[in-house]
Symmetry: D2
Subunit: 354 residues, 4 copies
C-alpha cells in the first residue's frame, strides 16, 4: 500500500459515488502483423462521472498536459468552460478520431437536440500507443465497442490490467494496462474521496520504482530488450466528490504528475502524459434555469488542499502500480511479448529492502 | 483593401511559396431536416504547408486558442513539439473525429512505418458548426472527401466563399465561408510573405464592421432574425516564409485575434476561435541526421516583428471580409437561408461614409 | 461614444460599486536629462477593489498577458489562487520593484500578522515605460507616493490624462495617460456594471483608429517623428460586480484585447500589454470560517457572457480614447514633447467621415 | 548519490561552463522578533549565466510554475521573448521588490543606455518565505547585498546549506537552504552538462523521502512540531550548455517537478514552486547585427531529450537533498529552531534499508 491515507471500499475511482467504469477489450489473432487486419490487442475504457445524461447535467472539470506528445481530444473546451459533458474515453493513438465520433453519436442519441436546437457536444478522449503488441494502423475500436463499454459501465470493483484501453499497453517494459486506486480523507478534512484511473504505457525497465525501491535496476523483463515504436504515454483520470472549481481541479491534475514521478517516470520525450479531473459535486445544467446559480466551493486552504493533494499523489502512484501488478503476460503481433510483472518476485525483493 | 501593406500575387495564403489549398464541397438535398440524412451543406478544406511528405519533413508551427468553445484536434502535440506533420483540415464540428481519422489513414498510406517502426502521427483539424444550414448530425464528410481535397490541393488562386469547410457556415448573419488574403513585407523588413485563410462562422448581424465602418448597425440580412443553434466559431490558418520558431509563430497567432476584433467580433461566448500558424522555412526531419541542427531564425526585433504583426492583422481582417464578399446566398435545411452580403450595397454605403 | 451599450454614472471604473481610484502625479524639473535626477514626468495610480482590508477580504481575480514584453508583478499567484489581496498599482517600468515593496509595507501596516502568524502578501503592479519624457532611471516613485495615492483613492469621477501612472506616457505618438470608461448591462442581462481603467503608452501615430476611422493616417503629431526608446505598453484593469469565477474573469481579460485592437494596436513587439480583472462580488476571507463556502456564480451562458464581453470591449476601447482626449501637451526630458490630441480637429475630421 | 548519471566536477550548477554563483548571507541578532528590526536570518543568492554583460548578450531561457503560490518577478517577459538578460536572484518573499530594484540599478550601471536610448531591462527574482526564523517584515536585503553577491559570484565549488537566500529557509521541518548538483551526459548523447541550484523551503517532516526511502516517517526534528507561517516554497534554477530553444528549456523545467516529487513533495497548497532554466549556448545580442541569425538547436529526439530529462530529475532531487545535508542547526527569531538533518543517523537508517 502506497502512502499514508486510507483507500476507499474498492480502492478504485468508483469509490467516488456515482462514478462508473466500463471496458471493451479486443484481443484476437496472432502471428505476424498484417497492417489493417491484426493481430488485435487493444480496446476502449470509459469513465462516466455520473449515470444521468451528461450533456444536460455537466460536471466541473479540468485537464492538464504534463508532456504533450499525444493526441488528446476535447481539451480546449474543457479549459475554456471548465466542464465535461460526455463520457471520458481512453483508447489507442490512431483510434482517437473514431472513438470521438462514436461518443458524439452516443450523445446525439441521448440528446437529439444537439446541433439542431442547441450547440454541439464536446467529447473527451485520451490515448496511448499500443503498437508494440497491436495492429495500430488497423484502428480496430469501432463505435459499437465504445457504446458497449458505456452500456457496461458500472460502479463497484473495476477490472484492471490488460483490459479495455489497457489491453495492448506496455509499462516500464512489462505488460501495463488499466489501474485504479482511491483515497478517503479524514472527516476533519471534509471526508472527501479522490479516485484515479490510469492507462499505463510509459517508462523503460530500468526506471521502475515501487514505493521508493528502484526495482527496475535489478529486475528486468525476460528476453532481449524490446523497444516499442513509441516510448510511451499515460492518461490519468481523477475523480472527486470534493466541491472544486475548474481552477482547483487543475491544481489536482498538476499533483498527478508527482504521483507519476514517484513510479520512476521522467515524463519521457515521446510520452504523452495527460490528466483529466472532474468533480461529481455541483452539476452544471446545459440550460440553466437562471442567470446566476449558487455553488458550494471548497476553500483554497491548506486544511483542505493539503489533504486532497497527497490523496491524488498516492492514488495515481498506486493506480499505476496496480496496472502493472494486475496485468498478465501477453503475446501480440510478430510474437512481441510483454511479460506480467512477477509480483511474488517483486514482493520478495521489496521485503529484502525493507 | 484593408490596411497599408501590399498583398501577394493572389492575395491568398498560397502566396507563401509551396502552400497548397484544396476543397471538397458537399451540397445536396433540400427541404426539411432529416437528421443523419440531409440536407447536406458542408465540406472540408485542407491546407498543406508544402507538397512533400509532411510526416517526414515537418514544419515549425504553433496554435493559439482565443476562445476555446470548440473541438480542435491535435493542438497538444503542436504546443509541445512546435511542429505540424500532416495536412491541416477544416470541417464541421461533429465531423472532426472522422476527418482526423481520414488524415491518419492518409499519413499511414504515405508513411507506412507509422505505428509499426516509428511513432504515430499527429493530425490537426479545426471546425465550425454549420448546423443552421446543414444536417450536422449526419457527419457527411467521409474519408474520401478528405483525400480528394488533399489530392486537389494546389498553389495559385484559392476558391473562396461557400466552398469546402465553408459551404454551410454563417458569418455576422450573412453567408460566410472560406476567405483568404496575404501581405508581402518590404525588402528592408526581409521581404517575407504572410498569408491567412479563414473558415468564418461567427458574429451577429449588428456587430459587422468593414474597414472601420459599422456596417452591421445599418445593414441587416433580409427576413426575421435567424439564430444558429450555436453562435459561431472561426478557424484561422496563418502561413509565412519568415523563419520563425514555434514561440514566434505563437506570437503571430495572438495577432490574428486583433484582425478578428477589427471585423466586429467580441470573441462571443459560444464561438470557438482558434489559430494555427506555420512557417515553410526550416523543415524538421522526422529522423534527424544528427543530434543538433543549424537553423535560421528571425530576430525578435521591432524591425522584423512590427512588420509581421500588422501583416497578420491585415491578412486576417481581409480574409474574413473576403469570405463574406465571395459567398452567395444559400438555402439549407428547413428552408434556412443565409444571404450573400450585398457587395454593391455595402460599397455604396462605405463610399457615403468615406 | 463607442459602441451600443450604456455607460455608468461617471463612465468610469468607479461605477462598479465600491471601486476606488487614486493618483500621485510627479512632474518636476525640465531641460536635459540627468539620469537619476530628472526631469520627472511619472507617477502612480492605484485601483482598490473595495474600501476594506483587502488582505483579509480578497476578491476573485484573473490576469492575462496579451504581449509579455513587460514587468508585471504578482501575476503567478493570481493565476494559481484566483484572488487579489492588495491594491493594484500602476507605475513606470523601472519602478515596479519599489512600488511592489511599498504595497507590501502598506499591507503589513494594516495586517501586521503578515509573515509572522500567517502567510505573506501578493501585491499586483503593472507598468509602462515613460522614458521618452521621464528620467526613467531615477525611479522617482517612492513608498510615500504609493501610500498617498491609496489614501487619496475615492469613488466617483476619476481624473484622466497625464495623471498618476499616466503622467509621462505616450499613446500613438500623442500624449497618453490614464483613461477610464464603463458600461451597464440591461436588467435582463443581470444589470451588471463593467468598468475599465487603462494606462496607455502604446502605438505609432499612423496606427490610430477612432471609432473605426483611421485618424492616424491623416493626422500626425507636429514636428519630426519622435520614437520612444521602447515602443510602448498598456495595462488594462477591469472591474465588475458580476459574480464571476477566476476562470470567467480570465475570459473577460481576453476580450480586453479586442477593445485594444479596435484602437489600431497590433500588440507591437515591444509593447507589454497586460490585463487584470476582478469581481467585487463574493469576497474570499483570508481565514475562511469553514472548509466550504457558498458562492453565487454567473452561468456560462450567451445570455450573460455575450453582454459582458461587448461591455469589456467597448469600455476598453473608450477608456483608451479617453486617455488620449484628456491628456494635454507635455514637455519632458531633453525638450521631448508629446502633444495632446487636438480634440476639435479630430471631431471635425470624424464628422466629415460620418 | 541519486540516480544513474554522472555528476560534473563540482556536482554543482557551475559545472555548466561559464555559470557563476554568489551569496550574501545575513545572520544577525537573536531573541524575540521585533518586526522591522530583527533577528535577521536571510540573504540573497545570484546565478549568472555568464560573466559578460547579460543585457547586451542575453541567454535563451524559460520559466515554469509548478504551484503559483509565490511572488516570482520577471516571468512574463521570459515567457514572451525566451531570454534572460540579468543575473537571476533568489531572496525572501517580502524582499522581491527591493532585490528587483537592485538588479535594475545594477543593469543600468553596466548598460547606461537602458531606458534612455533603448528599452528597459527585465530582471528575474525568485523567493521563499523565511519568516519562521527571520524578521520577514524587515526586508533586510538591501541593494548593496545584491551587488556584493554579484561581485562575489564565481565558478567552481558552490557554498550550500544556510547561505545566501537559504540562510533562513526550512525544508521538511529541518534546516533547508541552498543546494546544487549536476549531471554530465555521455558523449553519444552530446556530452552536455545539466546543473541545478535550489532554494529549499518546502515540505512537512513526515513527507521526506531520500533516494526512495521514506525517512520522514521515522525521523522527525527534535522538539514539538513547529509550523512555519507559510508552508513553504522552492525555487529551482536549471542551467545547461545543450543548445536548446525556449520551448525545449520549458520542457526541462517541467521535469524539475519530477525531481521535486521524488523528495516527497506534493507541491503543497502554500508552496510557491517555480523553475527557471537557461542555456549558455547561442547568446542573443540585444542589438542583433541582422534580421536573421543562425542558431544551433538540439533535435527533439529521444536520443537527446531522454538523457537531458533524467539529468534534470536527478540534479534537482540531489540538489534538494544537498541543501538539507549541508545545512546546520540554526536558531532564529523567538528562539525558533531548525535543526540540521542528522546526516549520520540518516545514513545509518538508509543502510539498514538497503
Amino acid at each position: 500500500m502506497i502512502g499514508r491515507l486510507t483507500p476507499g471500499a474498492h480502492n478504485a475511482i468508483t469509490d467516488v459515488a456515482g462514478v462508473r467504469v466500463g471496458h471493451t477489450t479486443l484481443i484476437s489473432g496472432e502471428g505476424p502483423l498484417r497492417p489493417g487486419q491484426g493481430p488485435v490487442r487493444t480496446g476502449v475504457t470509459v469513465v462516466l462521472p455520473h449515470g444521468d445524461n451528461l450533456f444536460r447535467q455537466k460536471v466541473r472539470a479540468a485537464v492538464h498536459t504534463i508532456n504533450g506528445f499525444g493526441k488528446a481530444f476535447g481539451f480546449e473546451e474543457v479549459r475554456e468552460l471548465g466542464v465535461i459533458e460526455s463520457p471520458i474515453a481512453l483508447t489507442n493513438t490512431l483510434n482517437v478520431g473514431l472513438v470521438a465520433d462514436a461518443l458524439a453519436q452516443y450523445a446525439i442519441r441521448h440528446s437529439p437536440e444537439i446541433g439542431i436546437h442547441t450547440s454541439s457536444v464536446n467529447v473527451v478522449v485520451g490515448e496511448c500507443n499500443d503498437g508494440y503488441l497491436n495492429d495500430l494502423q488497423g484502428r480496430h475500436v469501432r463505435a459499437e465497442h465504445v457504446w458497449s463499454a458505456i452500456e457496461a459501465a458500472s460502479s463497484g470493483p473495476v477490472a484492471e490490467g490488460a483490459v479495455g484501453a489497457g489491453a495492448g499497453t506496455t509499462c516500464f517494459g512489462w505488460k501495463g494496462g488499466i489501474g485504479t486506486a482511491s483515497r478517503v480523507l479524514p472527516a476533519r478534512a471534509g471526508g472527501f474521496t479522490v479516485g484515479a484511473l490510469v492507462q499505463s504505457n510509459f517508462g523503460r525497465p530500468q526506471q521502475l520504482v515501487i514505493n521508493g525501491v528502484p526495482v527496475g535496476r535489478h529486475l528486468r523483463p525476460p528476453g532481449p530488450p524490446q523497444s516499442p515504436p513509441d516510448p510511451g504515454s499515460i492518461v490519468i483520470v481523477l475523480a472527486t466528490d470534493a466541491p472544486l472549481t475548474a481552477r482547483q481541479l487543475r491544481r489536482l491534475c498538476v499533483r498527478a504528475g508527482a504521483g507519476l514521478a514517484r513510479t520512476g517516470s521522467h515524463y519521457d520525450h515521446g510520452s504523452g502524459d495527460f490528466v483529466i479531473a472532474f468533480s461529481t459535486e455541483g452539476r452544471i445544467a446545459h440550460k440553466p434555469a437562471s442567470l446566476t446559480a449558487t455553488q458550494t466551493v471548497l476553500a483554497d486552504e491548506p486544511k483542505a488542499m493539503d489533504w486532497l493533494f497527497p490523496a491524488v499523489v498516492e492514488s495515481v502512484e498506486e493506480a499505476i502500480l496496480n496496472s502493472l501488478c494486475r496485468a498478465e503476460t501477453l503475446v501480440g503481433r510478430d510474437g512481441h511479448t510483454r511479460y506480467g510483472l512477477p509480483v511474488d518476485e517483486v514482493a520478495a525483493f521489496m521485503r529484502k529492502r525493507r
